[in-house]
Amino acid sequence: MAETPLSVAQPQASGPQTPSVREVLLDAAKVSVFKVQEYSKLSLRSLTNLVTKPRYMQDTVAQMDDIGVGSLPIVLLSGFFIGAVMVLQTGAQFERFGQTSLTGDVVSIALVRELGPTITGLLVAGRCASGIASELGSMLVTEQVDAMRAMGTDPSRKLVSPRVLATLITVPLLTTISVFIGLVGGMVASVLSLRLSATTFWQRAIAILEFSDIMQGFSKSVVFGFILATVGCYQGLNVRGGTQGVGRATTQAVVVSSVLIIVADTFLTKIALFLADKVF
């Protein structure tokens, strides 16, 4: 090839070696383990920060308003219709055996143990984990997080811990409201569709519940709140690649927190059922 100023292709004595499949897999495994380690460290620090000073209570209250009050409309709306649809689905089956009065029992247990915490967790994750990731991610790419550190503020205290504490408080409260509204929705559906009296529905819905059921639902909502806040913060504080990276982190925050909530739900259910047998 003639050497001209426009020549761009240069003969190479030896090209870069292509990594083997084993090396690629090993590198991917290392990256995954590193991410899990960093996520665990951030999660642990977010909790230890709560017991040492300085604490940012004003930021926590602001986050509780944003996460808790802000999520209330979607939780109320979805809770009501989930309760109603549960009654319509189960009532149709119970009608075949003339046992429509059992509808209140089934809806109550399903909402308190499972649907209330899980649906609330997923809804709040969709709304807030993405919001947290995009907010912190934007702060990171515009050097606001570095500015915070440069002024002697620990970002994990100022940004992560208030959000974690806010979700630990508000998600159980939202779950409680969601369960109550779900039972209201169920009652309305059973009165209108199954001709069941409201008193019978409430009496059975309350009587069937045991302490272990309430504890199961409560513990799940606490764990789900912790997951969605820490995943959102981790994704936001690990943005790479400018504004495009912020978009990726936002999507990742919703996907990862939703999957983790469903996976955690399985294990928590198993643990709760075991404890219900042995302890309660």
Binding site: M139, A147, A150, M151, T153
Partner: protein, 279 residues
């Protein structure tokens, strides 16, 4: 390096009483080593202008000085403390004594100008009655007192840099680090920023590291001073006016110090690389 003056004798003399001292600092990332054994020091009230092309490690040097990054090897000393070996907890305390002006300002976009400037004071649990006058005073200094209740998005680029300078200075830190404070600004706004930096040096006597790729910024700091009596900027160095402040230049190239010396030394240099900064 052929044809260049040897490193200034001043540098070795001030190493012991240095406000900031780098000793054989190395740092690298996945893309390679950025700083390859950088050593320099500045004494109190001195302004060290870091010159270099994009990607030569100017911002990294500032972040290392503030303890925002740790070197892979070597040591960074500032205000008599080994910054490079401090715990994160101690670093948070140390950083309260250092002002950092980021290239794009890095103002908190959800807070007003007043809240941005007051941020550090509120972190230090300063009495609320004391905060407002102090914020107003420093905003007056940068001539932006009227923007107190505005959001950063409502300000121009130059105004944001000035607010950033006010925020960095509100608790009177002895060291201020400027990361390309005039980058991307028009000549008139750049001059306003440099005049402000000059006033800070001559009024408060801060030690400064100023990263820039504009040689004229450094020469403005070296050749002018702010007269507190007349409240005007005059030609002539601060030293000539009984101030101890001096301005030195440090040129970074390929991760190493290529030149270190006084402004007149860089002007007299026949080195082709340094001459490129003079064009």
């Amino acid at each position: 390096m052929d044809g260049l003056p040897s490193r200034s004798a001043v540098a070795s003399q001030i190493a012991d009483d240095a406000a900031i001292a780098f000793d054989n600092v190395r740092i690298g990332f996945a893309e390679g080593e950025i700083l390859r054994g950088v050593s320099f020091s500045t004494r109190e009230r001195e302004t060290l202008v870091l010159l270099g092309e994009t990607g030569t490690g100017k911002t990294l040097t500032l972040k290392l000085a503030a303890g925002l990054l740790r070197p892979d090897s070597g040591s960074v000393k500032a205000l008599g403390k080994q910054v490079s070996s401090m715990s994160e907890h101690d670093l948070l305390d140390f950083r309260r004594k250092v002002g950092f002006v980021f290239q794009e300002g890095a103002l908190f976009d959800s807070l007003t100008v007043g809240e941005n400037v007051a941020y550090r004071l509120r972190e230090d649990r300063v009495n609320e009655d004391e905060i407002e006058p102090r914020v107003r005073e420093i905003l007056d200094f940068v001539e932006l007192a009227h923007t107190m209740d505005m959001l950063p998005s409502e300000l121009s680029g130059g105004m944001r840099r000035r607010v950033s300078i006010a925020r960095a200075l509100v608790n009177r830190p002895p060291i201020v680090l400027y990361d390309s404070p005039t980058a991307g600004l028009d000549p008139i706004t750049s001059q306003t920023i440099i005049t402000l930096i000059l006033r800070l040096r001559d009024v408060y006597g801060v030690t400064a590291l100023l990263a820039t790729h504009r040689l004229q910024d450094g020469f403005a700091l070296a050749n002018f001073h702010f007269d507190q009596a007349t409240r005007h900027v005059h030609r002539g160095t601060a030293r000539e006016k009984s101030h101890a402040a001096i301005t030195r230049f440090l040129v970074l190239r390929d991760g190493r110090i290529y030149f270190e010396g006084r402004p007149e030394e860089i002007l007299d240099s026949s080195d082709p690389y340094l001459r490129r900064f003079l064009i």
